[in-house]
């Protein structure tokens, strides 16, 4: 879709508008990716647009922000383009350790997702 008429238009737009467009497409794209039923997609998107009578900023928002603050911080840093950190340079020991650590952490989260303790013993 973008290829047909959008690309020429995008080139004329200022940079920040291009970023905004990308962000919106990404946000909606993830919703489409997660849900396989159209009714759920519509419900989630309408909640995102604010049709569920929830205020944009309340105590719940603050709670989610501060509890995930470390993760958000790491994500922001990791998303920044930086020539020095990219793989153009040699693969050093630091890289190895870092990749190993990331892999290890990912596995722990995956295993935890299957963790299913029962409160009452099932007979």
């Amino acid at each position: 879709m973008e290829k047909w008429w959008g690309l020429k238009l995008l080139l004329y737009l200022p940079r920040w508008l291009r970023h905004l467009y990308a962000l919106i497409i990404i946000l909606i794209g993830w919703v489409l990716f997660v849900f396989d039923q159209p009714s759920l997609i519509i419900r989630y998107l309408s909640a995102m647009m604010g049709f569920n009578h929830q205020s944009l900023w309340n105590s719940d928002t603050v709670y989610f922000v501060y509890t995930n603050a470390v993760l958000l911080f790491v994500l922001i840093i990791a998303s920044l383009p930086n020539k020095q950190w990219s793989r153009n340079s040699e693969l050093s020991l630091f890289h190895l350790v870092w990749y190993g650590f990331l892999f290890f952490l990912s596995v722990t989260y995956l295993v935890d997702a299957t963790f299913n303790p029962f409160l009452y013993f099932r007979f």
Partner: protein, 311 residues
């Protein structure tokens, strides 16, 4: 140098995968997980039916996840990682103040609650000859919202209790657990690491319930209070895997004027000679010390001592 580190990366990755698979097949497979209190998936059966109806794929997947090598250690690492960031909850359990863990309670679906209360009132009206009372007790998060982490979302359980009270006005006698427990909230009514109330909490409720019904209740002096465990880490701890918690103590209230009781458990066809099963104190699930845990049907048998009953 570059060549070496590249090959190290590849070898390391493949080696890790290989080692993990090796452990998966070589380590002895447990049938029952004490940590998760459930039976683990046993070997998947490869039959034509199983393959066709996706059952084999599901069984194989749960087999690999259930017997993942060092599973409990992986779960513990994730919990520690979450705790080192500013995360206040894990797997639906909040880490509250003063060592209290709370199960997350959010706004329930009131329609469902209405259905539940209707079932209960229906049950009561089906047995008009039996006098019944319904008491709805809160969980620890309802009684101690001030101990929740900062700004943690929580729905007040009092609202739910009031709703149930209104629903039951037509059918059943309703006692609100908050009325009984709120005045004594400073006492250790709930375990810090488990969803049950302590024996102390049960005792306070017994007193209030007896008072409501006009029974004569035993005072605390009439009980021999013993501590049977100092190392109890309950369901909330199991689910959240939080570290650095001080364990709970389990107490037993034995009436000094004790009556021998036998408990017959229908699903295992066993008879216990007391209401407490001390073998559970050595296992992870120490709470099953009380009545030997949860069973489908239990009958408690007591020798007839009608002449001693005061109420």
């Amino acid at each position: 140098m570059k060549q070496k580190t590249e090959s190290l990366l590849v070898l390391g990755f493949i080696g890790t995968l290989f080692l993990n698979s090796l452990f998966l097949f070589m380590l002895p497979h447990q049938r029952f997980s004490e940590l998760e209190n459930r039976y683990l998936q046993n070997d998947p059966h490869l039959t034509w039916d199983n393959l066709l109806f996706k059952k084999y794929a599901e069984e194989a997947e749960s087999f690999v996840t259930d017997h993942f090598p060092f599973r409990d250690k992986w779960v513990w690492v994730k919990s520690t990682a979450e705790q080192y960031s500013l995360q206040q909850e894990n797997n639906g359990i909040y880490k509250g103040k003063e060592g209290y863990l709370f199960e997350k309670f959010l706004e329930p679906i009131y329609k469902k609650i209405q259905q539940y209360t209707e079932s209960v009132t229906q049950f009561a009206s089906n047995h008009p000859k039996v006098s019944m009372t319904f008491m709805l007790a809160p969980t620890s998060v309802g009684l101690y919202p001030e101990r929740l982490p900062w700004l943690a979302p929580s729905y007040p359980q009092k609202k739910v209790n009031r709703f149930v009270d209104n629903q039951m006005k037509k059918g059943l006698e309703f006692i609100d657990g908050f009325d009984i427990l709120s005045p004594r909230a400073s006492e250790p009514i709930y375990y810090r690491t488990d969803h049950h109330w302590t024996t102390c909490g049960a005792y306070l409720t017994y007193i209030a319930f007896a008072e409501q019904k006009g029974w004569q209740s035993l005072s605390q002096k009439d009980f021999l209070i013993q501590t049977v465990s100092n190392s109890f880490l309950g369901s909330y701890h199991t689910r959240s895997q939080f570290n650095g918690l001080s364990p709970d103590t389990i107490q037993v209230y034995t009436p000094r004027d004790s009556i021998p009781t036998k408990i017959y458990i229908a699903d295992t066809n066993r008879t216990m000679t007391s209401m407490y099963d001390t073998s559970f104190l050595a296992k992870k699930d120490q709470y099953s010390y009380f009545l030997g845990g949860v069973h489908a049907l239990m009958k408690s048998l007591r020798p007839n001592r009608l002449n001693k009953i005061n109420y």
